[in-house]
Point group: D2
Chain length 299, copies 4
Amino acid sequence: MTAPAPTNSPLNPRDTTNNTATLTISCADQPGIVAAVSQFLHNHGANIIHSDQHSTDPSGGTFFMRMEFYLEGLGVSRGTFERAFAQVVAEPFGMSWQLSYAARPKKMAILVSKYDHCLLDLLWRKRRGELNIEIPLILSNHETLRRDAEMFGIPFHAITVNKENKTEAEQIRLMHEAGADFAVLARYMQILSTDFLDQFGKPVINIHHSFLPAFVGANPHRAAFERGVKLIGATSHYVTAELDAGPIIAQDVISVTHRETPETLMRIGRDVERQVLARAVKAHAEDRVLVYGNKTVVF
Amino acid sequence: MTAPAPTNSPLNPRDTTNNTATLTISCADQPGIVAAVSQFLHNHGANIIHSDQHSTDPSGGTFFMRMEFYLEGLGVSRGTFERAFAQVVAEPFGMSWQLSYAARPKKMAILVSKYDHCLLDLLWRKRRGELNIEIPLILSNHETLRRDAEMFGIPFHAITVNKENKTEAEQIRLMHEAGADFAVLARYMQILSTDFLDQFGKPVINIHHSFLPAFVGANPHRAAFERGVKLIGATSHYVTAELDAGPIIAQDVISVTHRETPETLMRIGRDVERQVLARAVKAHAEDRVLVYGNKTVVF
Amino acid sequence: MTAPAPTNSPLNPRDTTNNTATLTISCADQPGIVAAVSQFLHNHGANIIHSDQHSTDPSGGTFFMRMEFYLEGLGVSRGTFERAFAQVVAEPFGMSWQLSYAARPKKMAILVSKYDHCLLDLLWRKRRGELNIEIPLILSNHETLRRDAEMFGIPFHAITVNKENKTEAEQIRLMHEAGADFAVLARYMQILSTDFLDQFGKPVINIHHSFLPAFVGANPHRAAFERGVKLIGATSHYVTAELDAGPIIAQDVISVTHRETPETLMRIGRDVERQVLARAVKAHAEDRVLVYGNKTVVF
Amino acid sequence: MTAPAPTNSPLNPRDTTNNTATLTISCADQPGIVAAVSQFLHNHGANIIHSDQHSTDPSGGTFFMRMEFYLEGLGVSRGTFERAFAQVVAEPFGMSWQLSYAARPKKMAILVSKYDHCLLDLLWRKRRGELNIEIPLILSNHETLRRDAEMFGIPFHAITVNKENKTEAEQIRLMHEAGADFAVLARYMQILSTDFLDQFGKPVINIHHSFLPAFVGANPHRAAFERGVKLIGATSHYVTAELDAGPIIAQDVISVTHRETPETLMRIGRDVERQVLARAVKAHAEDRVLVYGNKTVVF
C-alpha cells in the first residue's frame, strides 16, 4: 500500500539498451592488452560503458575481459569494425574473442518435463523485460505444461521419449530450425546423450537441485534428508558429458531444519532453483560468463 | 538434468492434511497453561502434532501458544469440543483463543494495481499447493492484470477509482459477498481509508518494498538510491490506520551495489517482495501469526 | 558513534539465569506425552519458560522434547524431583531423558592445532558471557597458541604427537581429570582414533571447513577451488568413527567468485567456521541438540 | 578434524604483495579515459593486475576507476612516474586521483569505549594478516580495554572526557603525532564535534548498530525491539557533521524472531557489527572506496 508509482517500470539499461555491444576476450596474460583494446575502441569512437577483467595469474595465467560499449559513435560498419579488431588487436595478442549486439538478443530453447516453477519463472522474467532474450520454442517429454507455454505465446513441442536417439534427433532439428543460440534444461528429467551435446553444438545450461558437488544425480532432496544437512541448495551449470559435473555458473542455498521432509525440501528448494537458474540465464544472455577448463569467470 | 523423480510432488503435510486443527491462544502468563491445554486435548483424543509457545515475560507477561493436532481420535463433535474447551480451559485462564480446521482453508481476497509479480507468485504457489487457501476474487483499480487472473480461473473485478468512498464500498461489498477471511495488497497502489479497514473488519496484509521502518511511503527505491544503501528490502505487515506502521510479519533484504539505478533496484526488489509476501501469507494462512500491540509472534 | 549505552550488556537470559533447568526427552511417539510432562512439572511448581517438541512421524515415529523451566517454585529437592519424574513419567513412556541445571554449566575441553580463529572466537564469546560453559583446559599438538590461551587464563597443555596412543591416552587422562563434559575440535589437525572416542565417552564437536557432504577430508578449500564452486561453507558436527560423517549440528556458507585463490578461500572461510562452530557449541551447551541416528534435532 | 594442512595460511595477495600500487581516479565521464590511463601505465611498464570502473551516467556523469598494477617493470622513479601521470593524463582529463603503494600500508587510529568486540576483531584480523594496515594507537574514554590493546602490543591512551574540546584536542594531537591516515570508531560512545573532523582532516569510519537509515542515533536495538523488526543490521559509514548520515561503505543484517529481547539483540548484533566494520576497513585500506556526494563506489 503505497502512493502510486510509475507502473511500467523502466528496465535495467543493461538488458535493453539496443545500441550497445559486448566484447568478450580471453588470451594468455601479457602486458598491454587493456591498453590495446581500449585504444582500439576509442579510436573507433566506441565509448566504453562497463569493463571487467580477470587474470588467473598475472604472470603466465589466462586473461579474461568483458567490455560493454556504445555503438553510436562507431565511424565504420560493424563488419569493418570486426575485421579491423581481428587484425589489429585479436591476432597480435592471440585472443579468442566474441562480439555480440544487444539489438540481437540470444535465442534460448527451453527443455522441460513436468515441474512448472523454473519454466514459468523464466517466461515471466522474459515478459517483464528482465531477460534480453528470445524464446523461440519449448521442448518437453510430456504434455503437462503445454497450456502454460501457450499462455505466453511460445511454441510448445511435446516429444514423448521412445527410442532416445530419435527423440534427440527431432529435438535438435527443431532447435536448429528455430535458430537457438543456447538451451536451458528447466528441470528436464532426461539425461542428454553426448551425441545430443555434440550435434546441438551450443551451450546447454542445467539447474540441479542441490549444492554441487554434494548430492550429484537423482533425488538430491532425499539424499539431503538422509544426511541431515541444515542447508539445501541449487546449482546452475553448463552441461558436459559427465553428469552434474560441468562448469558452475551460479549457486545458492537456503536454511532448513529437522522439521522438513523430502517433500517439503522439494517445495522449499523450488524457490532457490528458479532464482539460481534465472541468475545463470541472465548472466549467459549478457555475455557475462566465460568458461575455462571446468570453471567459469562470471563478470 | 536428473533421473526422473516423482512428478506430482507431495505437499507439505502442514499445508494439506485435511484432518488437523490448529489452536491458537493468548492470555496472561501463569502457571499450568500448557498442562491444562495438553491435558484437555489428550482427554478428548486429540493427538498433538506441533506445539509452539512464547511468553513476553514468564513473570507477568503475555503467553502465546499454537498447537496443531489430529482430529481422528476426537470422541465428540467439533461443536461439543469447542464448547468444552471454552468452559474447561479458556474461561478459567482468561484466554482469547481461536480454532481453525485445515479442511476449511481461509478465503483470501487480493487487491492489486498494475505490477504482476506478487499477484502471479501467489496464484502460482496456490496452484502448486504451497498455500492452503482459497482465492475467491481479485480486485484491481486497473484492467491490466485481468488476463493473468483469468488464466488461473479467478474472478477479477476492476473498479476504477473515482469517488474513493464509492470504490471502497464496492470493494468491501464484493469481499464480504465472497466470504473473504483476509485480504492481501499485492502491490496495490491506493492508500486504504480507516473506514475501509473498519468496514472490512478482517486482517489486511501489505507488502512494502523497503526494509521498514526505513523508507516509509512512496518511492522507497528512489529514496534507497538517494541514500546509497548497500541492501534493499521488503516488509510484509498487517495494515493499520498509520501508513506502513502496522505489525511486521516478515522481512528480507538483498545486497546491491553502486551500479544500480532506481530502475534496477525496482527490478531486483521484485524478487524479495514476492518471497516475503508469500512467506507472510503462508504464515497467516497456517495461523502462525499472533499479533500483540504493534508486534507479531510468528511460530 | 552513538550516545552512551549501558556498557556491561545484560546477557541472554537463556545463557545466565542460574535458576532454570532444562529437560530433554526422546521416546516413541504416543498420545499423552506433553500432557504428562507438563502436568508433572506443574504439580511440582516448575513453571515452564520454553518448550519445543518434534516428532519424526506422529504415527509410529520418535518424539523429542525440550522444556526449560524455573526452579524457584520447586517444592522438593532436585533428587526427589528427578526420582519422581523417572518413576511417574519417564518409565511409563519409556523415555530416555536428561535434566541439566543452568547453575551447573557444562565443562568444555578444546583441542586445537595452530589456527587461532576458532579458539579465540570461543574464548572471547565465553568471556563476553555468550556461552554458559566452563573451559577447564585447552589441549594442543603445538605450542603455537599457548600465549593466547593463557591470556584468557585457561590451562594449556601442548602434547606433541609421537606414539599416538600415548598422546591420546594423556589427552583423555587430562580431560577426565578436568571433568570435561564434552570436547570441541577447534581446527584440530589430527584424526582421532575410535579408541579415543570410546575412552573419552563424551560428545566431541568438530568444525569442518566445507559444506558437508561436499569436500570431505583434507584441503576442502583446494578442492572447492578446483571444482569452481560459487559458495564455500563450514559444517559443525559430532565426531563419529567415520571421518566428517557424524550428525550435523550447524552449517553455513558464504559467496565467493572466480577471483579467489585457495589461500583467499581459506581466509574467507575463517569467518564462517568460527560463526558455525560457535552456534553449534552454544546449542550443545544449552541442551538444544538431540541426536537420533546420524541426524540432529536442533531446538 | 582434518589431515594436517599448511599452518601459516598464505595471505590474500591483495593484502600483502608489497610490490603493487593502486591508482584511483574520478573525473567527468568522457571518451578515452581508459585508453589514456592504460596506455600510460603500459608505456611505463606497469602491468595491470586488477581494474574496475564505474560511471554514474556514461553521458555527462562522473567516472570512477581503480587500477592495481605491479611496479617491477617501472622504468622510472615513483616521483617521475607520478609527475608524468599528473601532466600527461590527470590534467588533460581534469582528474582527481590518488596513488598508493602496498609497501606503505595506511596507519589506522582506533577510538573505542567499553565494548570489546569490534576492537578485538580488528586487532585479530590485523595479526592474521587480513588487513594491510598499521595500528599506531588506540584511544579510549575508558581504561576498560587497555589490557586487550596491550596484549596486541598497541599503545593505548585513555583520555577521560571532561572538557570535550580539551579531550578532542589531545586525541587529535596524538593521532597526528602517530601519523594516522584515517580513524575508526569501533563502538566509540562519544559524538565527535565538527571541529574534531575538521582538525583531524582525515577519513573517519564508524560502525552503527542498525541498518541505516533505520534507527539513527542512540539505542537502535531498543528501537528495533519496539518496532518488532524481523532483521537487525549494522552499517559502516564515513563520519560527517550529521549524525549517522555519512556515506555508507558496508551494511549487513541478520534474522531475528519475536523471542529476542533488546539484550539478546545486542548480543546477536555484535557478530554483524564486527563483520561489517572489518569489511569496510579492509575496503578502505585497499583504496576500494571512492566517495561522491553522500554515496560511495565500492570496487
